[in-house]
């Protein structure tokens, strides 16, 4: 065989994902692909997303039917690069499927979320251990109104090389729904206590939106622990946050209302599916959920949308910082990027809204990993 064969398999987006529905082949059978091209659209619990090609070649087989659901890891297509015979493709498929079967039969239990008491609060988190981890842990801090599922498309992927931990902020997800003041200082202190309790000594922070501000404070307070800072659409001084969105995100009480609010998060709102809307509504309907979020909103945002909290000057933060932004971000308007220290690299992702970690997850994962390696090289 002079060519190479590459599998296209059902991805695992998020620790709880067990299957996905193939909704749309974007490249027809026999069509040419380049590395990075979108091949197929998959619908999951959370949103619809696309699988990108890891290679160039010909998408020689569609192995699945649009509208059907397949287990994570199953073979859904085949790409060939160069000269490959039909029977070689067939053998490849058979081998893959039998190996996959062995894998699933001996699969260990998927990681589950755990809870830990930090002070008088119970925090919910998801820790994923890598078989052969690099030294540090990547820590994911979600944004206002979200939860650790914000990192469904990132945590699993990055756990191939790093230990990772994502958590639910107080007042969010499965963590305790009580907060004291709810301001970012308090939240960052609580998170620092969590990591101290878990004896995490070296970590890279990835913070989204308000979680970015919290991550900044953590890095400032504990420079010995937090080695790098990746901020995704962060709330920074000089930012204006869409407070109408914040209100709606807390109080939307019907599917219609919540869909219209949640759609603001994404450049392409069509990818938001019903299950995500329902899960968000469910989380708001716990006693105390709306009050906790309201408290956090009032503690951190002025009615005008500007942050009401102080952040340390970015120059004083030891850890290298990079920022990832979406060009179509409807939630945060940051007009003072020129005023940021010049050593802060800014990645603007075209066609992405306020959640590039979901909409452009492949790119974001690459940017995070590259940054960690790059800064390690220079330390």
């Amino acid at each position: 065989m002079s060519g190479k064969i590459f599998p296209v398999s059902m991805p695992k987006w998020g620790m709880t994902m067990e299957e996905g529905k193939v909704t749309d082949w974007l490249i027809s059978e026999g069509g040419a692909v380049n590395e990075g091209d979108e091949i197929v659209e998959i619908e999951t619990d959370k949103i619809s997303n696309v699988v990108e090609s890891q290679t160039s070649g010909i998408l020689v087989r569609h192995l699945v039917v649009e509208g059907s659901t397949y287990k994570v890891g199953s073979l859904i297509g085949v790409i060939i690069d160069g000269d490959v015979k039909e029977n070689e493709i067939d053998n490849f498929i058979k081998k893959f499927e039998s190996e996959e079967k062995i894998k699933t039969d001996t699969k260990e239990a998927t990681n589950k979320t755990e809870k830990l008491q930090v002070g008088n609060l119970e925090l919910n988190f998801l820790e994923v251990f890598c078989e052969k981890p690099e030294e540090e842990t990547i820590v994911f801090v979600h944004g206002f109104g979200g939860d650790l599922n914000s990192w469904s498309y990132n945590q699993v992927e990055l756990s191939t090389h790093f230990n990772t931990i994502s958590l639910d902020l107080p007042g969010h997800g499965g963590s305790a729904l009580e907060v004291d003041s709810g301001n970012v200082s308090e939240l960052s202190e609580i998170l620092i206590s969590l990591f101290e309790k878990k004896e995490i000594n070296q970590a890279h922070l990835v913070g989204h939106s308000l979680g970015g501000a919290i991550s900044l404070l953590m890095a400032y307070t504990k420079p010995e622990i937090f080695k790098t800072l990746t901020l995704i659409c962060p709330v920074l001084p000089g930012c204006k946050t869409n407070t109408e969105f914040l209100e709606g995100f807390i109080f939307a009480d019907s599917r219609k209302q919540m869909r219209s609010v949640v759609s603001e998060l994404y450049a392409n709102p069509k990818i938001v599916n019903r299950n995500f809307i329902d899960e968000t509504l469910k989380s708001r309907r716990f006693d105390g959920a709306k009050q906790a979020l309201s408290k956090i909103k009032d503690a951190n945002f002025l009615p005008s949308g500007e942050g009401s909290f102080q952040l340390p000057p970015l120059e004083e933060i030891k850890a290298p910082i990079q920022i990832i932004q979406g060009s179509e971000d409807k939630i945060i308007k940051f007009s003072e990027y020129d005023l940021l220290p010049p050593n802060i690299k800014i990645h603007e992702l075209n066609g992405s809204g306020h959640m590039p970690q979901m909409e452009e997850h492949n790119q974001v994962n690459k940017i995070i990993e590259a940054f960690i390696h790059q800064t390690r090289g220079s330390i």
Binding site: G67, S68, S254, R255, K256, R274, N275, R285, F286, D287
Partner: protein, 337 residues
């Protein structure tokens, strides 16, 4: 979050609400069981054990056994609700509504309206319903259409433990009279239920499954029947959506019409008698409001126009089965223009 039965989920809802609001009280026949006797107090905790343990937690001033006098104690629930309490009363079997129906449909349902909006009626009437336990004609009916017919009442029929807890908490917090019906064959059915208090809103159907070929609309225990049918249909590449109405008054028309538009084919599966039932009501709404979205006539899967028989084989034949649903779906697909 842990696995709980439907019964436990309801018990938790009552427990949480009675802890949160001291005006929530419970009374009904044998809600404790053993009052005035020489043996165990709280011997039953309700005919189906739903209220067990509440007596020791809250005392006899908050949960009381009543004599077999439905019209008196359901009427008392009406009067108590008008004067500051939030009573959760129950009739053991919905079939007993006959002996207290005036209190429900002429008093509870109408007080707010007749008094020009100047009265609240925050009462909940719980009852078991449904066939499959060989309880025969007078203890097996699904009479929710009768309540749905009456303006002023809200009617809730949960299908699973998660919804049961959230809907009951919502019902207790509601200022209008709520008829809360629990399928007697679901009490032992388990599911994941969070430990904390949460609500499930009225007028929002549960979207159990999404599939482009047909919409199955159902409620209560029939939702499980639809799930079985949908699993079988999937093997034949027919993708069914399943809507769980959860509350029939108020009814989530929006979601019903949305799915009608998306799939173009509808089968309504309901355990109530066919005449003037939920299946008939939902079908007529769809036809009236979304006729042009339909690719085929709507099919209803219901029991026959007959009382519930005693003999198990007859009772099984009486109840809609997953095969009945599968047959209906196939007919709806073949009947396509």
């Amino acid at each position: 979050m842990s696995i709980k039965t439907f019964r436990q989920a309801l018990n938790e809802a009552l427990h949480l609400e009675m802890s949160r609001d001291k005006n929530v009280i419970i009374f009904g026949e044998d809600v404790c069981g053993g009052t005035g006797g020489t043996g165990e107090k709280d011997a039953w905790g309700g005919a189906f054990g739903v209220t067990k343990g509440l007596l020791s937690e809250f005392g006899p001033d908050r949960i009381m056994d009543t004599p077999i006098t439905e019209s008196a104690f359901v009427g008392a629930a009406v009067g108590a609700a008008m004067t500051g309490l939030r009573p959760v009363t129950e009739i053991m079997f919905v079939d007993f509504l006959g002996v207290c129906f005036d209190q429900i449909f002429n008093q509870a349902a109408k007080v707010r309206y007749m008094f020009g909006g100047k009265a609240d009626m925050p009462m909940v009437l719980r009852a078991s319903y449904g066939a499959g336990a060989s309880s025969a004609s007078q203890h097996s009916q699904a009479l929710y259409p009768i309540f749905t017919h009456i303006p002023g009442l809200k009617v809730v029929v949960p299908s699973n433990p998660y919804d049961a807890k959230g809907l009951l908490i919502n019902a207790i917090r509601d200022e209008d009279p709520v008829i809360f019906l629990e399928h007697k064959m679901l009490y032992d059915f388990s599911g994941e239920v969070p430990d904390e208090a949460y609500t499930v809103p009225f007028g929002e159907a549960g979207i159990i499954r999404e599939g482009k070929d047909v919409t199955l609309i159902s409620l209560g225990k029939m939702v499980n029947v639809c799930q079985e049918a949908a699993d079988e249909l999937a093997k034949e590449n027919v993708a069914a959506s399943i809507l769980d109405l959860r509350t029939i008054s108020p009814l989530d028309e929006e979601t019903i019409l949305e799915f009608t538009e998306e799939t173009g084919r509808v089968v309504v599966v309901d355990e109530a008698y066919p005449r003037c039932g939920v299946a008939a009501d939902v079908s007529s709404i769809i036809v009236e409001k979304a006729f042009s979205d339909l690719k085929a006539p709507i099919k209803k899967v219901t029991p026959p126009h007959s009382p519930v028989p005693y003999a198990p084989n007859l009772e099984q034949a009486f109840l809609p089965s997953s095969q009945n649903v599968i047959d209906a779906v196939k007919e709806v697909i073949r009947g396509e223009k």
